[in-house]
């Protein structure tokens, strides 16, 4: 590789309040080279790259661009040096169109006016790069997490930068979309663009990376080639060996009770005729392409959305439609897909966020049980190894993965026995994943039942006792662990259709009218039902 790095963070350090988050780390990116940052949740990856992106200024050390020391007071300053960033947390304006979001801050103008044609064309070009086919006039808020992530990526790509920073771009993507992204990265690499790539999917590292910089607790641990075996990488980042990435232990129960029974469940526009049962001690995995309607199904069972037909029974007792408290009382715990929008009150403390589900149930005479809550929260935080300064810290200041753990912890405290998990380990590091999996084991050991929606096939295959595959809102088939393989699942998920057509279908799904519209067809409600804004329309008291 050529000797002169485009950018070097030279012995940089970062301190928030009194807490050192990055200590004396050096990392360089080279033209045509993909540098991978690896580390546990809270290791400091995002903080590090934010210094390169002009979001934070290092408290010590220097930023060297093309051999010259520079300061990056603003993101604009970084952009001017050809540094583009895809941040971990989506930074889009929900009320603005896809096109405007892609070109935000760089709107093309003709004599002082916004040149709308140029705006649309450039946006379309950028979207084409990653093969995202949506109407560029669609307000971004109406797109799904997956699509939003792709828009975010397109936004960064449209700045043809020399240095591209990608902070967990694949967390919200399914395999198919990830491959599209990697194709683009490979192309950029050929064109000599330097890239800094962050991901918790170890398999992706060897695929796109050249060298890996490993961080732990904000300190540099090692720099190794991307070809390093995963086990070794894990050891480096976690500091210990992780024998089994998917430590599923199904308890041996003699004719286990039927805990959750879903019968002929249907919601017009989302899913239809969905029936399945989950027994004590069982983990049921639900796989499917993005847009298959898994989230809607989960939300309907959890009482978040209303459904049109069918019944949901927990331990034989029928749950009322669209009644979350009743579902929770019956032992259901729901980890939603979008932790920022639906999972957490970012401004509130970790303690409060962990306690919301049990706020009422633990109260005496309407008085909140503070000491008890604190104790429970502390215990769970320890158990999940949530990395924080204090339990009273705003949950929004936690690293992405640790935020996800906080959502999970809420249901541990609520002692939920039926967990509905939608993308439960999105953005969670390997070590934490294993901890979450162990929690799932503990719950099933205790006779609980789990339904897990995941777009990460290895996870589905590794942690499920049974796998349902959904397609277009219907159950396409069921696989036992024995017969379940990537191929088996994919063929079911996308039978009689090549993945591109499936994608087209998904686009159709997402860009069609909301469910609230009378003339909605069977699948066009998918997005509507999932979009937070539209959710309440489903509960017509």
């Amino acid at each position: 590789m050529n000797p002169q790095p485009l950018v070097t963070l030279q012995n940089v350090g970062k301190i928030f309040g009194q807490v050192t988050v990055i200590k004396d780390v050096t990392v360089s990116v080279y033209a045509g080279h993909v540098q991978v940052l690896l580390g546990e949740n809270g290791a400091g990856k995002s903080t590090l790259i934010k210094m390169m992106a002009g979001v934070y200024q290092p408290d010590s050390g220097a930023i060297v661009v093309d051999g010259a020391v520079v300061t990056l007071p603003t993101t604009r300053a970084a952009e001017d040096l050809g540094i583009a960033t895809i941040h971990q947390e989506l930074n889009l304006v929900p009320t603005m169109s896809v096109a405007e979001n892609v070109m935000l801050g760089r709107m093309p103008t003709r004599h002082g006016m916004v040149d709308r044609r140029a705006l649309r064309n450039r946006a379309r070009a950028a979207l084409a790069l990653i093969g995202l086919d949506v109407d560029v006039d669609t307000p971004v808020g109406e797109l799904g997490i997956a699509k939003q992530q792709l828009v975010e990526i397109a936004k960064a790509l449209s700045i043809n930068a020399r240095i591209l920073i990608l902070d967990e771009p694949t967390a919200a993507l399914t395999r198919h979309e990830t491959e599209a992204l990697f194709a683009v990265m490979a192309d950029l690499r050929r064109r000599g663009v330097a890239m800094l790539f962050i991901s918790h999917h170890l398999d992706e590292i060897a695929e796109v990376g050249d060298t890996v910089t490993v961080l732990r607790d904000g300190e540099f641990v090692a720099e190794v080639p991307a070809s390093t075996p995963e086990a070794e990488l894990v050891r480096l980042m976690v500091g210990r060996n992780i024998e089994d990435q998917f430590p599923r232990r199904a308890p041996e129960l003699v004719n286990p009770a039927e805990i959750l029974a879903v019968d002929k469940l249907g919601a017009s526009g989302s899913f239809s005729d969905v029936s399945f049962t989950v027994h004590a001690g069982e983990v049921l995995g639900i796989a499917g392409l993005v847009g298959a309607g898994r989230t809607e199904l989960i939300r309907a069972i959890a009482g978040v959305d209303h459904y049109d037909s069918g019944t949901v029974l927990v331990r034989g007792h029928r749950l009322p439609k669209g009644n979350i408290p009743a579902a929770i009382a019956a032992g259901i715990g729901h980890v939603p897909e979008d932790r920022k929008g639906q999972g957490l009150v970012l401004g509130a403390s970790v303690n409060d966020n962990l306690g919301y589900a049990t706020l009422a149930s633990t109260a005496r005479l309407g008085l909140a049980d503070f000491t008890g809550q604190r104790r429970r929260a502390q215990a769970v935080a320890e158990k999940l190894r949530i990395r924080m300064h204090t339990i009273d810290q705003a949950v929004g200041a936690l690293s992405g993965g640790n935020q996800q753990k906080a959502v999970f912890g809420r249901w541990i405290i609520a002692a939920s026995t039926v967990l509905l998990l939608d993308e439960p380990t999105r953005g969670v590091d390997v070590g934490a994943k294993v901890e979450i999996y162990e929690l799932m084991n503990a719950i099933t050991d205790a006779g609980g039942a789990i339904v897990m929606v995941s777009s990460e096939l290895p996870e589905v295959l590794g942690m499920s006792d049974r796998i349902l595959v959904m397609r277009d809102g219907r159950i396409a088939g069921e696989l036992s662990t024995a017969e379940a393989t990537q191929d088996a699942v994919m063929t079911l998920a996308a039978r009689e259709a090549g993945s591109t057509e499936i994608d087209a279908i998904v686009d159709d799904i997402e860009s069609d009218e909301p469910i609230s519209e009378p003339n909605s067809t069977t699948i066009d409600g998918t997005l509507a039902a999932v979009t937070p804004d539209n959710a309440p329309t489903h509960e017509k008291e």
Partner: protein, 326 residues
């Protein structure tokens, strides 16, 4: 793939336009219903003259509300518009009577006053980091006070150039001309200019705007400055109609202006709002009052009815949108 996408684009477009339509028009349905009801209730409502009157009467609030739309789209609120309107008009009249400046200069003086007051709001909010509610509440008090100080609590005659704004241009009342012009300008700024689009970004997600390299602070200052400028224009319109600047002019109009914007479909949490919607919102407010006068509803009951109608007008809109507002 291609055939697929083409087929899928059609419905997509449909949805977008439909949403646009509603966003654009806010409580339009409510307004239409209201007008229909009045048309049935009294023959005096749907007369050319009365429509002209409504046009004139809506001008002040509407122009104030156009400026307010910028602020609310950008995620702020401006309580000072009424007071700034009064101050601008008073300064203009003072420049004419006391300082004896030529009329057109006093007009500019008034506008400049509004622009300045608005900029102060913006600086206090963007750089002084005061919540816009506080910054503009303070300005409300200061501007009203200064108006009283300048005028010693008495009305002051306006310059003929200002009075002209309240007069007629041939058959057409000037306030209506000014109203339409400023509507065009405002929606042009909001829809077609970079600064206008940036307002949506700042209001919709300030952090994203910042990370995208938008000069958030400068945008905020511009936003409030524009609101001040429109307020000044509204103040001069009002003074022109009365041939005199009143110390208490436009008192409490800020609530009307904000209401017009919100009735027009904007959200106080920012990122949403259209000039056309705001216009509809302002019309709703003025048409109610006009109608109640025509029906000679006693002033006590008037307030009750006004409240109910506002709720209904927006209710209709909400029903149609079926979206959550909290």
């Amino acid at each position: 793939m291609t055939p697929m996408s083409t087929t899928t684009l059609a419905p997509a477009r449909r949805r977008v336009d439909y949403k646009k339509f509603l966003a654009n028009n806010g409580a339009l349905v409510g307004l239409v219903v209201l007008c229909l009801a009045l048309f049935i209730a009294t023959p005096d409502f749907l007369t050319g003259q009365n429509l002209l009157n409504i046009g004139i009467q809506v001008s002040t609030v509407a122009v104030l509300a156009f400026g307010m739309t910028f602020v609310i789209v950008a995620g702020g609120i401006d309580l000072s518009v009424g007071a700034v309107a009064a101050l601008a008009a008073m300064v203009s009249s003072w420049l004419f009577v006391a300082a004896g400046l030529p009329g057109w200069l006093t007009l500019l003086g008034g506008l400049a006053t509004g622009l300045l007051a608005g900029m102060v709001n913006g600086l206090a909010n963007a750089y002084g980091k005061l919540p816009s509610f506080i910054a503009t509440l303070a300005m409300l008090s200061v501007a009203r006070g200064l108006t009283l100080v300048i005028s010693d609590g008495r009305p002051i005659k306006t310059a003929p150039e200002v009075s002209f704004l309240g007069g007629n241009l041939g058959p057409v009342p000037m306030p209506i001309v000014v109203l339409l012009l400023s509507a065009v300008v405002a929606s042009f700024v909001l829809n077609r200019t970079v600064i206008g689009r940036s307002m949506y970004a700042v209001g919709g997600n300030a952090e994203a705007a910042r990370l995208s390299g938008l000069p958030v602070k400068r945008i905020l200052v511009t936003v409030f400055a524009l609101a001040g400028l429109f307020a000044a224009l509204a103040g001069l319109l009002l003074a022109g109609r009365l041939d005199s600047a009143q110390p208490q002019a436009a008192a409490g109009y800020e609530l009307d202006a904000i209401a017009a914007v919100v009735i027009g479909g904007a959200s106080l949490s920012g990122g949403l709002g259209k000039i056309s919607g705001t216009f509809v919102g302002a019309l709703v407010l003025v048409v109610i009052r006009n109608g109640l006068n025509l029906l000679n509803v006693t002033s006590f009951w008037q307030q009750v009815v006004i409240g109910l109608v506002i709720a209904l007008a927006v209710g209709v809109d909400v029903l149609r949108r079926k979206t959550r507002n909290s």
